[in-house]
Amino acid sequence: MNQTVEKWDWQNSAQTSYWSVPLREIYSFRHLLYSLVRREFLLSYQQTLLGPLWVIFQPLMALVTYILVFTKIIGINIGSVPPVLFYFSGILLWNFFNDSFGGIYNTFRDNIQIFSKVYFPRIIMPLSVVANHFSRFLMQLVFLAVMVGYYAMFKGFNFNLSFALLGLPIAVLGVGVISISVGLIVSVLTAKYRDIGNVVALAIRMIMFVTPVIYPLATIPENVRWIVMLNPLTSYFEMFRFGLFGEGTVHLLPLMYSITVSIVILPLSLMFFNKNGNKLIDVV
């Protein structure tokens, strides 16, 4: 009897399992993943004059605003890093988190047309969102590197290539993992209870304020710093800047906390998404 069960390639039954993450199937749809990323990229600049240059212009526009508001008007102490570099790095990493998360948590609402007509591993869609924003992030990072070079050569910014740079990929990976994981969980919840969608946009803005995006962790008074430290993103953001500029508060314990949270939450969210993915098509 067991033999006959095993010979089936696929099945669809009332019981969905937490464990059946179809890795082989996801691999067989890798071209779809690639073409979805390509599609998103083409779509964002369809019929624009500047085209892909917007990848750089968007964060640059935010940068101008941030510098005006936070250095000229409010005057946050950001240490010795030039404000342009400090804010630009924060904006890039935050946008990567924010845009991936924002794209993922609407997975079901945005793709119900396709989901209700054809089967493929649902996880492909959120993965394509992250991959898309990651590729944009990489392009922006290259631009940031150019800016750092400019500041080092002409503005006397003291840039040292050090081992701290190795922290950079860990920080980016960590931020990516958290945005996927939280995004997947929220996507299932919003598909079911739309109310949550209304709260999420607000919540994400609040989280930005407890993440060292527009300020360095060092400027936060000791007595309220724990609030910011509770946020697993904090260590990653600090490590990101530490890797780039050699300035930031990176301690082992908070870092281990962030990494543990990421490692635990990723499989949990995948299981949750997997378990509920197919049932949601009736609900959305």
Partner: protein
Amino acid sequence: MPETVIEVSNLSKLYRLGTIGTGSIRQDLNYWWTTSVLKKENPFFNLAESDNSQQSKQFLWALKDISFTVEHGEVLGIIGSNGSGKSTLLKIISRIVSPTKGSVRGKGKVSSLLEVGTGFHKELSGRENIFISGYLLGMNKEEITKKFDEIVAFSGVEDFIDTPVKRYSSGMYVRLAFAVAAHLEPDILIVDEVLAVGDADFQKKCLGKMRQVSQKEGRTILFVSHSMQAIHNLCDKAMWLQKGKMMDLGDVTPIVNRYIMGVQQFKTKQSWERGQGPGNEFLRFENVELIPHLLSDDAPLDIRTPLTVSFEFWNNQDDVYLTTGLHLFTNSGECVFDIPTRPGIYKRGLVKGTCEIPGNFLNDGSYFISLIIVKDTSVRLFYLEECLSFDLEDYRGEIKWYGKWVGAVRPNFPFTMHQELEIPAHHA
């Protein structure tokens, strides 16, 4: 022995009505508690089954206890009226939604065509869309690259392949979308009524392609259609669904015939009490009837069937010169013919008439009949409008062509063609 490639067992799908979308958290927690913690059955089953009509009204069994298997290379046609669960069944077999009870298991790669242009994005060019739609439907990169030119040629949009599809005419859009679908090479193909699009010419091309796929390449196909003609010609087996239940599964012809007889709507007989029928002071109808002479007991009313129209009316005048005209109209109100009886003198009393409409004369479609009684060949005494109606199903026999047959009539009089002169090939 052919291999079983799809096994559907005890498949049921329950939909909650009204509250679809939100459903309260309390209900969800209740569901989670009973199924996951107590390991009991879905608590809503009992509600759906309960006699309390208030509660059972909130639930709908879109499918109920469906079990069957499909063998390799089989073409299974699924028929049923709207809301019978056909699409739900296809969606579950495609793994788009999960069933409430039971399971579907299968072997091999499945592609589902539940709509035309799955994954098409109007802002993208035809080229981009071919790739993304192909990937979504389960093709891999080599397949698409290999067939790209063929797909473009099939769709006939060569010149516009790098133009965003939003600038396409709707016909071009559909052709391109179908071209992608037509070049799929899955092990199992699931098709839902997508043939209802495009012009007649294109439909012909698509059905031809499907037939080629099923017959020459031995692919398993599940096919939902309202076109009995297409089901007849493409499928080896048919399944009839009604209100979520499987009515029958087996050979195509008897099932299709039974289904057609179930859904055909006609007014084939009307009779009235004496003096109560439609009419006026001159005459009053007693009955009208349409008698089909079916070829066999389980045959449907199709274009081959000879029909007899009979009517009776009471004539209230003495020695009157009467004639009756029979008007046959198509569904769209076009008159196909107007046939009069020979005029004659009739006395007070019951008058009976019959008209024989031969088989192999009318085209397929819906028709209705009106009767007109005329005095002295010019004075209209009474017009009995739309007293009978009937549908004629299509029948084409050997002719493997599925487009809509045009014309109000489809007569079968002698029409031949032969080779008059042959020029041997090497002389040409």
